[in-house]
């Protein structure tokens, strides 16, 4: 009995930790969708860039990789802003097909530039705390999991405070709820698009650092699977809903790790989509969606 509880707790921690990465990705996707009504199919590439920025600074500086969040997040904010301005602004409102092709273009550009600079071999870095574990009852949990979960919570709280307590954050929410109404408030909605895209990319960049720090491998093409799961999560949670992204991310994180533990690793990626299909059958607008979008 003791043994089972230990294993279950371990799987839960794994799930929470994996969920953190998904939550950061899905929250960014949802912010962008809310404000611009576009799905950024190239979102996984921002995650990938985040891992490589962390990798490069780590190799060059030897800093604690967690500190490198202070590099990956702001750099990706800037990359996001530039990407929005150059690639998405010109096609906004011209149809879904354009968004898809622009996204595909961005995906290939980022993948190939990264492959050119760093080659396309798998890379990995190690956390300085990799051998430290903390006892949680009878379970030994790696310290890194606690740090990653803690950082994600801090980022989400920071984001919440920004969106709800600052004038700029309120303007972003206003643009997301009613673009025309926002313009009537004198809000420059194109600037809000750029800023939101930047924030979304920044969150993906932070997820990239957490991905790398946790010792997972990465290469220039690693972004697509996590991104696809991010899309599944925003559909499960409800398009545009940040609460939905958080709950959806946790569900997927936990479900994946329970299935790979019980049914084997081959089912890990499939379970996200099984959950997605079930949610779509039961509540087509997603768990938190369809209020008045």
């Amino acid at each position: 009995m003791e043994g089972i509880i230990t294993i279950i707790s371990q799987v839960v921690f794994w799930g929470l930790y994996a969920g953190c990465i998904y939550i950061l990705l899905a929250t960014g996707l949802n912010l962008i969708f809310g404000v611009m009504k576009i799905v950024n199919f190239a979102h996984g590439e921002f995650l990938m860039l985040g891992t490589y920025i962390t990798f490069s600074f780590f190799v060059l500086s030897g800093f604690n990789p967690y500190v490198l969040l202070c590099a990956s997040l702001p750099i990706l904010v800037v990359v996001g802003i530039i990407t929005e301005r150059l690639c998405f602004r010109p096609i906004l409102g011209t149809g879904k097909l354009n968004e898809i092709f622009v996204s595909l273009g961005i995906i290939y550009v980022f993948q190939n530039v990264v492959a050119m600079l760093w080659t396309d071999e798998w890379k990995t870095i190690q956390s300085p705390y990799k051998d430290i574990t903390i006892s949680w009852g009878s379970v030994q949990v790696p310290l890194d999991y606690f740090i990653i979960i803690g950082i994600t919570i801090c980022i989400l709280i920071g984001l919440y405070l920004f969106l709800h307590r600052t004038s700029l954050g309120r303007a972003i929410r206003a643009t997301s709820q009613n673009r025309k109404g926002a313009m009537l408030m004198g809000i420059n909605v194109e600037q809000m698009d750029m800023l939101t895209f930047g924030i979304g990319a920044g969150l993906a960049g932070a997820a990239g650092t957490l991905w790398a720090v946790s010792g997972q491998v990465f290469n220039p093409y690693m972004g697509s699977i996590p991104a696809i799961k991010g899309f599944a999560i925003i559909i499960i949670g409800g398009l545009g809903s940040i609460a939905g992204a958080i709950v959806g991310g946790l569900i997927i994180g936990l479900a994946e790790n329970f299935t790979s533990f019980t049914l084997g690793g081959a089912w890990k990626d499939a379970v996200s989509f099984i959950i997605l299909i079930i949610v779509l059958i039961v509540k087509p607008t997603g768990l938190f969606g369809g209020k008045d979008e």
């Binding site: 004038s167 309120r170 303007a171 929410r173 206003a174 709820q177 009613n178 025309k180 109404g181 926002a182 313009m183 009537l184 408030m185 004198g186 809000i187 420059n188 909605v189 194109e190 209020k291 008045d292």
Partner: protein, 230 residues
Amino acid sequence: MLQVRSLNVSYSALQVLWDINIDIQKGEIVTLVGSNGAGKTTLVSSILGFTKASSGNILFKGKEIQGEPPYDIVREGLSLVPEKRELFSRMTVLENLTLGAYFRKDESSTDEIFHLFPALKEAKDRNAGLLSGGQQQMLAIARCLMSKPEMIILDEPSLGLSPKFVHNVLEAVKSLNDEGLTILLVEQNVRRALEISDRGYVLENGQIVKSGSAEMFLEDDAIKEAYLGI
């Protein structure tokens, strides 16, 4: 204050407004009359920059605003209470009002507004989407006033309201004008609107077919027949 000169507006191939000329002086309240589909909403959304004009000029305080984005026009002091209100329905009344003063650095206070619309004060922590139709209209007007505009355009402010609320809204509009706000009013309750107005324009099939003083409109047989139901 506002001049519209030879304005033509089309939705793709369909021309909706033809050679519109309008002149509104500072401090005036003017009613725009027209049947359903005449193009009233199209006209006000072109003035605010939401719908692009194919030709013509729009001058506000003597400055060309045609072609500017709506958020810049609003910042210059011309605002709109749109037909569909466009509230932030998942934000509280207070947040909606705060956003109204978004671009004012002096943090316009809500005290004045609550004095003008006491019902909003009681509901200030409720989500805008949960308010009654009348309260939503009050909020839309109040939010618009938070930016301290010099001129506002109201697109059918009494649409869907009970007669009591219609009276309240038009009273509020009148008192705003008394305080010096320039107002262009689009209204289905033509008689009530004309009673508080200085002048009127009639828009038919996308063209201004008549203009004159409100008294003259109230006496005009053709207008009586078409819009006053007499």
